[in-house]
Subunit: 362 residues, 2 copies
Amino acid sequence: MKNTETKYFKFLKPLHLDSGKILPPPVIIAYETYGKLNKDRDNAILICHALSGSANAAFYNNSNKPGWWDFMIGRKKPIDTEKYFVICSNVLGSCYGSTGPTSVNPETGDLYRLEFPVVTINDMVNAQKLLIDFLGIEKLLSIIGGSMGGMQVLQWCINFPEKIHSAVIIAATYKHNAYQIAFNEVGRFAIMNDPRWLKGNYPIDKCPEVGLSIARMIGHITYLSEEVMEQKFARGLKKFDFSTEFEVGSYLHYQGLTFSKRFDANSYLYLTKALDYFDITESNNLMDCFCNSKEINYLIVSFSTDWLYPPEQSKAIARALSNAGANTSYINLNEEYGHDSFLVEKTELKSVIKNFLKAQKL
Amino acid sequence: MKNTETKYFKFLKPLHLDSGKILPPPVIIAYETYGKLNKDRDNAILICHALSGSANAAFYNNSNKPGWWDFMIGRKKPIDTEKYFVICSNVLGSCYGSTGPTSVNPETGDLYRLEFPVVTINDMVNAQKLLIDFLGIEKLLSIIGGSMGGMQVLQWCINFPEKIHSAVIIAATYKHNAYQIAFNEVGRFAIMNDPRWLKGNYPIDKCPEVGLSIARMIGHITYLSEEVMEQKFARGLKKFDFSTEFEVGSYLHYQGLTFSKRFDANSYLYLTKALDYFDITESNNLMDCFCNSKEINYLIVSFSTDWLYPPEQSKAIARALSNAGANTSYINLNEEYGHDSFLVEKTELKSVIKNFLKAQKL
């Protein structure tokens, strides 16, 4: 039931990174597209994925599972592929086809692993921009992303405002704070102290499964809300031993283990580090960051039960944009699924995005 | 500068546990006392410690560091040792002198390790009651504890209401919820999947340091508030590598490592499990739990920034006690240190406890 496939854009020049390092060519960006670019080339929407996402945002790509936002993208869906040309690309540093620590270093012929340079959200966006140029798109009708995807959208708006008509930033922040960094630090500590990590040189079939599982388990706790945890997990019976008797424990173990089989531990280190570096303000006032991006139409969405990227952070973005003079809508959705609400079908997000897009015209 | 020492009460009968198992004699309870029991034996205050605490609540005991609540207990301090006879004992299952997984099993002559039976908060309280009987105290003027200590206080009030005049329950809950269990599950997973854990049979000088560090790092994040994390940890400079460059990371690593040198990994498993089992309601209404404990004077304290045991949980206890007809004061202190506020000297807790105790008379 394959009805989409990942394509690979090869950039044949060196890519300069924030760290001062250079990625030698070819720099590969894995991407998928859905729908058709119209004659006027004014119906393109770029989707930015979150930490563990891939270019496969919708439809089936050689697997039994649809893309990670399949309920949002498709025929007659909020991001309607009969109207829009939808692009999703895998971020630099990930393990799903774009150049990252699991790629071959063209200069040595070996896998990069920890030789891969540290990348930032800004680097990801600059690489993605090369793909958009390659696809011949002058201006995106919209750019949409949640969580780390939302941070990429923010960075896009700052870097390339002339290429963007409208932007949707969901459950994101403008700057990783000490809390968000702390959870990632523990995850990285767990990976880098797993004896199987071997300074990043683990054999592919012997990854640091325990460390990566722990990192993901911590992540999962932060992705859910207290409400949904309580509903989802009745307390287990007292068996008076150290088996995983509480349902929430089994759930977390399962999530951790599954993740460690589908994701690369080194990529996890790189992407969480990119998140932790994220700070569009540097030492500036947040409003000043948007002085060149005020022609874009913005929709900022947060979720009432999201405690990882709480509504206050989205509200601060919306306020700064509005004060900068940008046309800005902000909505805090009363959803119970915590940070993960943007990945849950039965929320109001679908209609909110659909209505916002309906009003956008290049 | 030693001015206190730990004593050891040996209970010479078998101790029956919630699990149905029996701890063979001697069951040892490590304890310290400060101040003098008066002639009428009506000035005794029992202090219950939290997860990683010990019997050394105050003064110096062979180390350069004072007891864990030294700012609260002592001459002219809120729990004034010139007026009160203060007792603190180490919980069953801990590694600080009371019988636990690091003790010798009298039936085999070997260390218990994982042969130690699972214990509950109720078991801890029942063992502590034997010590109070041994000390010849008919009725406690007060019993005071924070976090896991607060849960012990609640259990004391339910089990032995006739032995208690007043009770102070700080930053606690009446039932561990899915969230609280989830964080502990990840910590236990980290310990039990550390290759050095060896199913609990690690040599004392080769403990599962990484697993225990991870567990403690997760704990630390939950003990602090967002406010204090942000104040405490400026963002580090971008060094573009995987060293611990963010201050919050260094802090957590240090906390994890220090803890792994002072605490036993198996004890950590047992004590967190006891926390996770804690549920005084079982399937009853919370108010009904207190129908025999309404003669006690209660003070319930929560902290506005505590997100591990949030104010709502303390408020629910206070409401249930009040509805049950007990004389109950509830105060939510506006302190910035999160759950750990009860261990921080410069909060209002000192005067709150001092004033509450002043009003208590047997």
